[in-house]
């Protein structure tokens, strides 16, 4: 009987339950300035990114200097996000606008974890003042912050 009690005790010990919410619950899109050869480029200008919210325009990325990659938020449920990139160089101010179309996917971990959305990027386009082109590299936007989603190709000489 002692042997069986030990078996039951072992089962109880190895069994456990836990709340398993992800450590990183932020869902962000990662962008990278890239050369035509595929190398990451450091931006010499100061970059600020703004968008149009329900209550007006607001900054979502403020005064990044000497950056090559950066994260921007993505809206929960808008079919298309509009992002305005402000490039500030030596006495110069140039803006470019990005339009990002996407599908929004409700993401469920557990009833104990807050509701969130993952996204699938379907289309991207931009104006061409400073940027030459933009390309979706990885369309799936999740809480994995190691993934680069969009390459930004600056115009040559900018």
């Amino acid at each position: 009987m002692k042997k069986w009690l030990m078996v039951v005790a072992a089962v109880v010990v190895v069994s456990c339950s836990s709340i398993d919410c992800p450590v990183n619950s932020l869902v962000l899109t990662q962008y990278q300035f890239t050369s035509s050869g595929g190398q990451a480029l450091s931006l010499l200008d100061t970059l600020t990114v703004a968008t149009t919210r329900k209550d007006g325009s607001d900054t979502v990325f403020n005064k990044g200097v000497n950056i090559s990659t950066f994260y921007l938020p993505i809206s929960y449920s808008h079919p298309e996000d509009k992002l305005v990139f402000h490039f500030d160089g030596e006495g110069q101010h140039v803006t470019d606008t990005l339009w990002i179309k996407k599908d929004d996917i409700p993401h469920f971990e557990s009833v104990d974890c807050n509701a969130s959305f993952f996204h699938r990027l379907t289309d991207i386009r931009c104006s061409h003042n400073c940027l030459d082109s933009v390309v979706i590299i990885n369309p799936s936007v999740t809480n994995d912050d190691t993934v680069i989603h969009v390459y930004l190709y600056p115009k040559t000489g900018d």
Partner: protein, 229 residues
């Protein structure tokens, strides 16, 4: 959406694991374990039906639980092939996250118990058993509209009738005691492991699985009212 482990892989792993366990046991012990005791008691000893009170109690007192019944065959008071079937339900509205989760579906388990007592034909039994369980179910997940923290627009959130499948295995230790006549009472403690699962669309996993319980729990139990027929 994702099948983390294919069914064939899971079954193959389970079979290999069981085979290794059996191989690890001495040949003599194997023979003793699988050989029926030699006596004048007939091989077929009848059927028993049972009903689980723990799952029904959980359903009455909490947001989820199950009604479960079983049919068990008695082979020489030593081996007990068993079929368990039930309906698992969840209807949970979380106060903190405000996520509503609902499902209701049947599930099925098949398996076998072995009476481990030396006195096989006595009024009481101590079981060691295995189960394979399966359910196909649909899930509704919803939340009241909430505000996008950056864009500030109200956002709806919901998943409707997502079709899911779940396969799992259980190992159990149980006791069965004769009360009077054909009536027995018994309990079991069960360790459960998922073998494979699949969810429709982009749902990564579900919270409550009918028959298995919540995804983060690996221990379960039953308290059975058993009647010999």
């Amino acid at each position: 959406m994702t099948i983390l482990l294919s069914m064939s892989t899971s079954i193959r792993r389970l079979a290999i694991s069981l085979l290794l366990i059996v191989m690890a046991m001495g040949t003599q012990a194997q023979m003793k374990f699988f050989t029926l005791q030699k006596d004048s008691i007939p091989f077929f000893r009848g059927f028993a039906v049972s009903f689980d009170l723990v799952g029904a109690g959980m359903l009455a007192l909490s947001d989820y639980g199950q009604y479960e019944a079983a049919l068990r065959v008695n082979l020489h008071d030593e081996w007990f092939p068993i079929v368990e079937a039930g309906i698992g339900k969840a209807n949970h509205d979380d106060e903190v996250t405000r996520i509503y989760y609902s499902t209701s579906a049947p599930y099925f388990k098949i398996g076998i118990d072995k009476n481990m007592l030396k006195d096989k034909h006595g009024p009481n039994r101590l079981y060691l058993g295995l189960r394979y369980g399966f359910t196909s179910y649909q899930v509704d997940i919803a939340r009241p509209d909430f505000t996008d923290p950056v864009w500030k627009w109200d956002t709806g959130y919901g998943i409707k009738d997502a079709a899911c499948k779940y396969h799992w295995a259980e190992i159990l230790v149980g006791i069965d005691a004769k009360i009077f006549g054909p009536l027995h009472l018994g309990w079991s403690v069960r360790y459960k492991r998922r073998l494979s699962h699949s969810e429709e669309g982009d749902l990564d996993r579900t919270w409550y699985v009918p028959g298995f319980g919540t995804y983060d729990t690996s221990l379960g139990g039953t308290f059975n009212v058993i009647i010999d027929i």
